[in-house]
Amino acid sequence: MPAPIRLRELIRTIRTARTQAEEREMIQKECAAIRSSFREEDNTYRCRNVAKLLYMHMLGYPAHFGQLECLKLIASQKFTDKRIGYLGAMLLLDERQDVHLLMTNCIKNDLNHSTQYVQGLALCTLGCMGSSEMCRDLAGEVEKLLKTSNSYLRKKAALCAVHVIRKVPELMEMFLPATKNLLSEKNHGVLHTSVVLLTEMCERSPDMLAHFRKLVPQLVRILKNLIMSGYSPEHDVSGISDPFLQVRILRLLRILGKGDDDSSEAMNDILAQVATNTETSKNVGNAILYETVLTIMDIKSESGLRVLAINILGRFLLNNDKNIRYVALTSLLKTVQTDHNAVQRHRSTIVDCLKDLDVSIKRRAMELSFALVNGNNIRGMMKELLYFLDSCDPEFKADCASGVFLAAEKYAPSKRWHIDTIMRVLTTAGSYVRDDSVPNLIQLITNSVEMHAYTVQRLYKALLDDISQQPLVQVASWCIGEYGDLLVSGQCEEEEPIQVTEDEVLDVLEGLLVSNLSTPVTRGYALTAIMKLSTRFTSVNRIKKVVSIYGSSIDVELQQRAVEYNALFKKYDHMRPALLERMPIMEKTASNGPTEIVQTNGETEPSVVEAKHPPPVTQPTNQANDLLDLLGGNDVVPVIQNTVSTKPASAGGELLDLLGDLSLSGGTSPAPAPSVPTSQPSFFLDGLTSQPLFNDIAAAGIPPMTAYNKNGLKIDFTFERANPNPNIAVITIHASNSTEADMTDFVFQAAVPKTFQLQLLSPSSNVVPALNQGTVTQVIRVLNPQKQQLRMRIKLTYTHKGSAVQDLAEVNNFPPQSWQ
């Protein structure tokens, strides 16, 4: 068998390969040769073969068959063999292979070898890949070597001890006695590794930490020597004496001084000295300064020292070297929570870093900027941040947008500014905002009532420009659906009102429905918006057409909505106004809780019960509050009912605690979550079945009665009990007109004695058609806790044949079952 080729030859051969396939072929050939050579148990060339194997392993080819060979090499007497063998063990073996345990005995022998280099090799291998079993067996040997006077071995033993402690934490105690005089070494290598060992022990066990606190004076002394000692050629790096050791000691001081007053006291002087004396022209100086700053921040240092530290960081920020700026920004981010004011002083520099070309620096500057925003600087900062949002990479946009929203929410100086900011974000980074920002924004808009006209106008204009950004489109279509009447009427205080016709608005919304850019969710929003406009606009026919077209849409969501809305037009037209009224103000249950809002959009009301204070300006004076306060007997206090015309913030909201589970005015809504609309149909139908409205005579067996019959106007009452609360009687009035002319502007009002509570829901319409062609229905709920006899005074107003008619009447003939 010819001698196997040298490693060098192999490398040269492989480099001549021009393609990957050629290389693979060469390697496979060589592997075969190596394998046969291993089988022959050739001692002389084993190390050469293993070296080649390691090279091939580095290139990525499988080399596991060499593991046993490595062990054989380790067992050999020759240093060359051992060297390659241990290297191979480190690269190829690990604790997952059982083979590694065979090494334990070899290592044990080698740890006691006469040659220090062999001992060093053994320590190195144990320290790199020793498993917990190996560590347990060999910890004693390592501890012995930790006490030797040979500095070469001592430093290796120290690091090996660190590895042992990491693998088997219980053995930490064992190394404690050996650490006693580690720090009195002169050799910097040993000092360095000893500090590492002490650091590891302190990090792992608070008892050790307490024990080693007494070493603080010694460490301070060593550090002082390093700084003051002047030029020492063997440890010099760019003019500073052993910076690595200085950094390590500073780190250990940090751990020891954290939370402890005495140690922090002892360190103050030396930290100040290091901070002021270190040269900052080279990277080494900056490395030491950086570590010093971190230490000052962590321990209980005096305030002067802290200010010094932050100023150093500020100086770093102005440094040309990107690395320095990066570490400065990282440390400022850590300290901004505790030393907010000091960091504020450097705000302008930080904001400048936003314009840096380096991605890592930009990211840190952005995070730091958001941390520094407060009520005073919000306007300026927001300008910078929005500018940043315009020009930054896509990976930043999502985080930046959420940050802007959060900051704007906390510190917005005015509602208009807030809305403007949000709109700016949506127009520039619309596709990157998170999904929960849409409901949040909608909730915000609803709450700022005075801005409705301005908002809807701006959103409309934005929509005309660009319909590709889905969150913007969704918010805009929701707003147009809600406040379309304000848009068309052209009233806007904040800005120049624009002239928009109803048709133009509908064009835009229909455009959204057909556009390819709109997602299904957006289409849902658009369709609902169109539907809502049917109560706010006059051109209902066009809307009806659109809605009926989508009744056969392929998208199930759209189809369902369209079908329901169709039904709304056809069969339940009288309910349409009530359903499609303005949304009430939504209460935010949690600052980040969009899900609550989503629910309330669909079910509308349970959480809105708390928001009992509708904006006073736009409300008719007597609101539902008056419901409960009635004078007894003869005074008729007009009870407000929900008017047909759309006034913002319907009264329906507050009334619902009386209604319990029956909430008829569950307004249709742009529910983003698809699950909500699916609950709507059953909900919708529930509203119907539990409330027999039409000619279904009341269940519960209470006979209907005629309450009023005069001048052709007949009013019937039908009764029902509300299920959860037997004290509530639900009365439905049916008003019919037997004359030849319609009765328009029909308003029904009722009053009851004090012991009762009355609630009137909205009527189906205010026109009673002539000749009994139809009826106007309205639901009255009466709460009768004391079960007294029900009496009612009613007042009717309507216009008949051009003249206004008003009439009062008393209704006393309630059947006994209705109030018992």
């Binding site: 490398i11 040269r12 080494v284 070297d321 690395n323 890592s360 620096i361």
Partner: protein
């Protein structure tokens, strides 16, 4: 703790890969490729710190790299190491290689991978920094190399001859002898007896 030390060239070919935590071979290669992708995209004038790729542990680990001519030296470290300190460590490592190989270039690393591993083993052990003094490291490495050579026997003879010639200190021959002047300046020749 240092998780891995990688050296690869501008095309992504690995010249040295040392992992201080175990991964299987495929993962190791993937990590090398991923690290190369991340590092090679960087501009020349940006900072030398990067978040680690997904395979190596994501944002808990940082990649600290330096680009020398055709080689990238990348150290993957966790948060317990000082970033600027590691930059200095890379510098010390490269200077040590330079001293050991005399004007080190990529070819030296290619053909003497095992020697580079040995040097590295004197600097970093088990993921922690062992020795940072360049002279100390070189002394140890030289001593071990001498041990190896002394064992090599006859096969090492050519290598020994080469190193012997390198170390020979030929005295300087005189360059200019002034003929015109009687007093010829004859330099101090060693006695070749």
């Amino acid at each position: 703790m240092i998780k891995a030390i990688l050296i690869f060239n501008n095309h992504g070919k690995p010249r040295l890969s040392k992992f201080y935590e175990h991964y299987n071979e495929d993962t190791e290669q993937q990590i090398i490729r991923e690290t190369f992708h991340l590092v090679s995209k960087r501009d020349e004038n940006v900072c030398n710190f990067l978040e680690g790729g997904m395979l190596i542990g994501g944002s808990d680990y940082k990649l600290i790299y330096r680009h020398y001519a055709t080689l990238y030296f990348v150290f993957c470290v966790d948060s317990s190491e000082s970033e600027l300190g590691i930059l200095d460590l890379i510098q010390v490592f490269v200077e040590t290689l330079d001293k050991c190989f005399e004007n080190v270039c990529e070819l030296d690393l290619i053909f003497h991978v095992d020697k580079v591993h040995n040097i590295l083993a004197e600097m970093v052990m088990g993921g922690m920094v062992l020795e940072t003094n360049m002279n100390e490291i070189i002394t140890q490495v030289d001593a071990q190399n001498k041990m190896e050579k002394s064992e090599a026997g006859i096969a090492g003879a050519p290598a020994r001859a080469v190193s012997a010639v390198k170390n020979m200190n030929l005295p300087e021959m005189p360059r200019n002898i002034n003929i015109g002047d009687i007093s010829i300046k004859v330099p101090n020749l060693p006695s070749f007896k």
